[in-house]
């Protein structure tokens, strides 16, 4: 072979394996020229060092001893079995694929591991940008199909609500598959291109900056224009006579703003072509857009009227800056009281840099949201509502691929989880179409018996952990609470 294919000698087939591919068994692969063993079922193992994601090449000979029953009893809670790859028994009322017992501080704990099929599910996407992505309620499309909508704007961010049962199963086949694919890719941390009706095209990827109409968003705004005035008024005082912080939401004007007044900033006779809210705070300086402070303006002077001759003076120093510090211009008034652009003085340059510095990196964040339905709950207990009650009473801890979840108050088990806190490729799908997400319920063995659990299906962790049959050990993420930790349970809200 002329390339860096390797010959696998794990069995007599002796496959030549190309880099990045696996042999005919799918168990051994060529990872950067090295033969590695790859396993699909994910076991979070907090004892391993973070970052190890493949099981090293290691053969174990697990000889069958010829009897039908019998396995060791060692039990250790350093391993938590996630539901990823666990499979599901849907649509049957059967016990979940794995019901695992392990001991934590001497108390028998049970983790019921299943992969739930969620038709009632979707993602909430938070896109850190002030740029106008689209009007509220606008349809969001993937591959031309409606997959969700723009919902309410949040602080420094635009929110999308994608998926849901109506797009998944209520529309055409293409709408369903496009929605399912978009959700699957977003949940698995892949980039998805979305187009908002009468709005922007945005590429969204969990944990990465958004790409709005081809431009990568760098930073979140530090605050609205008015808040920015409040934060930086002191730093500007004495260095400049007037500051306008351009913002699609609330544009701030230093000399009129409470913060400027308190410092004794002199009136400048500035006029904004906008609707005044309270002193120094203006709405609707321009149309929403993807330029200065989330507006559509490229020339900031277009939002200013004539300076009042009674109050303004030649030489008046004016700074105009956007809420992220990405745009800024400096002007001085001429004898005719018209602003003339000048180079930004060094000390003001520092304040603009400060605004930029205070803006956090703009990210897309993706929360999976789903409801554990009847048949899924029935895989855990013979009386599904008891599981709901147990979760509500915080006797049962719910995790999603080992990641913490927020369980929505009220009926059912509807939860949200940050997809970046789960192992890679934690999600799958079924052709319904619906998403397959891992879900684990952890509770005390006694509580499990009390809620009608499938006690005869409970098996010791050792029966899972000590086998080498396609389980993948991952190191637990340091920022996730350990799912079996005793401190993590029973905090009444």
């Amino acid at each position: 072979m002329a390339d860096d294919s390797i010959r696998c000698d794990a069995c007599p087939v002796l496959c030549y394996i190309k880099p990045g591919r696996t042999g005919s068994c799918d168990r051994y692969g060529n990872h950067e020229g090295k033969l590695v063993r790859l396993d699909p079922h994910v076991v979070l193992d907090r004892a391993l060092e973070r970052g190890e994601s493949v099981v090293p090449f290691l053969e174990r000979s697990g000889e069958w001893d010829g009897t039908l029953i019998g396995h060791g009893e060692a039990s250790h809670y350093e391993i938590f079995v996630t539901a990823i790859g666990a499979g599901t028994t849907y649509p049957d009322y059967k016990p979940a694929p794995f019901i695992i017992s392990s001991q934590v501080d001497g108390v028998d704990m049970v983790t019921v591991v299943t992969e739930g099929i969620f038709s009632y599910c979707g993602v909430k996407v938070k896109i850190d940008t002030d740029r106008h992505l689209g009007a509220e309620c606008s349809t969001v499309r993937a591959q031309g199909e409606a997959v969700g909508h723009m919902t309410t704007s949040e602080y420094g961010s635009q929110m999308l609500s994608l998926g849901g049962v109506r797009h998944l199963t209520g529309g055409s086949r293409h709408e369903g598959t496009a929605t399912c694919e978009a959700l699957l890719n977003l949940c698995n941390g892949k980039a998805v291109e979305l187009k908002i009706d009468d709005g922007a095209k945005v590429v969204v990827q969990a944990g990465k900056p958004p790409l709005v109409d081809g431009t990568q968003e760098e930073r979140m705004r530090v605050g609205c224009g008015s808040a920015t005035i409040g934060m930086f008024a002191k730093q500007w005082f004495g260095k400049v006579d007037e500051v306008v912080v351009v913002d699609d939401h609330i544009t701030g004007v230093l000399s009129e703003h409470q913060a400027g007044k308190l410092l004794g900033v002199r009136e400048t006779g500035i006029k904004l072509k906008a609707r005044r809210s309270t002193p120094g705070r203006y709405f609707q300086v321009a149309e929403p857009g993807t330029s200065w402070g989330g507006t559509d303006i490229d020339d900031p002077l277009t939002i200013l009227g004539k300076f009042s001759a009674k109050k303004a003076w030649p030489g008046l120093r004016l700074l105009m800056v956007s809420t992220t510090g990405e745009h800024s211009s400096y002007f001085e008034l001429g004898e005719d009281l018209k602003p003339q652009e000048k180079e930004l003085p060094e000390d003001l340059r520092a304040s603009v840099a400060r605004i930029k510095e205070n803006c956090e990196p703009a990210l897309c964040t993706v929360l999976f949201m789903g409801g554990a339905g009847g048949s899924l709950r029935a895989g855990v207990t013979e009386n599904p509502v008891k599981l709901t009650h147990s979760v509500r009473d915080t006797l049962t801890r719910v995790t999603c691929g080992g990641a913490p979840v927020y369980v929505w108050p009220g009926g059912g088990i509807t939860f949200m989880a940050d997809v970046t806190r789960m192992p890679q490729n934690a999600f799958g799908y079924v052709p319904t179409p619906a998403l397959v997400a891992p879900i684990e319920f952890t509770l005390k063995l006694a509580d499990y018996a009390a809620l009608g659990g499938y006690m005869e299906n409970v098996r010791p962790l050792s029966s899972i952990a000590e086998q080498d049959d396609g389980r993948k050990r991952l190191t637990a993420r340091a920022d996730n609470p350990w799912p079996l930790e005793s401190g993590a349970k029973a905090k009444k809200r």
């Binding site: 794990a10 007599p12 068994c25 069958w64 039908l68 086949r173 293409h174 339905g373 079924v430």
Partner: protein, 299 residues
């Protein structure tokens, strides 16, 4: 090389897992406990030599099948050749197209010849050989996408029905496919026959020259593939309804031909969410039975 076949009981205490190189079997026998144990011992005894036997004749088994060629020595290899021979004159096919089914058949044969079992199955990565004594039945689940298994339907196989082999083939599966079917599931009298037929039908579900289909020479992906430099499917873009209709019709025609020739009992062809069924008059319910359940949602 330090290889040992892995032989162990799964944690449920009922199913046997046999793995050796690319062969990965889940075996389950039903009957009296001592009979099950006897069957499992027979399966293990036979299993140990299967991969070595196959590898001895591997280069022959990777060549185009031909009626004129000599027969291989190994029992599994002979099952493979027998299964692909009906296609040798018309299609490109190598005995490897039936390897999974043939191995399943061989292990099942070892079990049923040494123990009294009510039913048994050997599942080799979705290619299944089964045994049913009078009055018994198996419920078999069907998947649409082998890379992301989930049930789209089930089919009940009764002892009176001659089907004893099930196989699935598609471009997303473990083996390469020349076609674009997500999955073609075939029920036939024997597992190796089902395996070969599924390969042929899946290859026929195709849209030659379609720009949204990414095809790569098999040897570029796996240098020693039996498919050589033939183009194998690596990705299929979104197809219009008319296009997937066209591809499925082509596959359906092939399946109907195989049905007429008595090579298969029924077949289900899946492509981007569309499913076509091909079955003889009496068999239509075996596979079609509950496919419609895919419309169910989790509620």
């Amino acid at each position: 090389m330090n290889r040992r076949a892995q032989i162990r009981l799964l944690p449920d205490g009922r199913r046997l897992h046999l793995q050796d190189g690319p062969i990965d079997l889940i075996v389950e026998a039903f009957g009296a406990p001592q009979e099950i144990e006897r069957a499992y011992r027979a399966a293990c005894a036979r299993f140990g030599a299967v991969l070595d036997e196959l590898c001895e004749e591997l280069s022959f088994l990777r060549q185009q099948s031909s009626a004129d060629a000599a027969w291989p020595r190994g029992k599994v290899a002979r099952r493979m050749v027998a299964a692909v021979l009906p296609y040798a004159a018309q299609y490109f096919i190598t005995p490897m197209a039936a390897v999974a089914g043939a191995v399943a058949e061989e292990i099942l044969a070892a079990m049923v010849s040494s123990a009294e079992l009510s039913r048994a199955y050997v599942n080799n990565g979705g290619d299944i050989a089964l045994s049913l004594s009078a009055g018994e039945e198996f419920v078999v689940g069907m998947v649409e996408r082998p890379d992301r298994p989930s049930l789209v339907g089930t089919s009940t196989l009764r002892a009176a029905n001659p089907v004893r082999g099930i196989a699935t083939s598609g471009w997303r599966g473990r083996s390469f496919s020349l076609g674009i079917a997500d999955a073609v599931t075939v029920l036939a009298d024997r597992a190796a026959a089902a395996d070969a037929a599924a390969t042929i039908i899946a290859n026929a579900v195709d849209l030659p020259g379609h720009p949204a289909i990414v095809r790569v020479p098999a040897c570029e992906l796996a240098p020693d593939s039996d498919l050589g430099d033939r183009l194998v499917t690596q990705a299929v873009g979104e197809l219009t309804n008319a296009e997937s209709d066209l591809a499925l019709t082509s596959g359906t025609r092939t399946a109907e031909l195989l049905l007429k020739l008595g090579l298969i009992r029924s077949a289900a062809l899946c492509l981007q969410g569309d499913i076509r069924l091909v079955a003889g008059v009496g068999d239509s319910r075996t596979i079609a039975a509950r496919v419609q359940e895919r419309g169910l949602v989790n509620a």
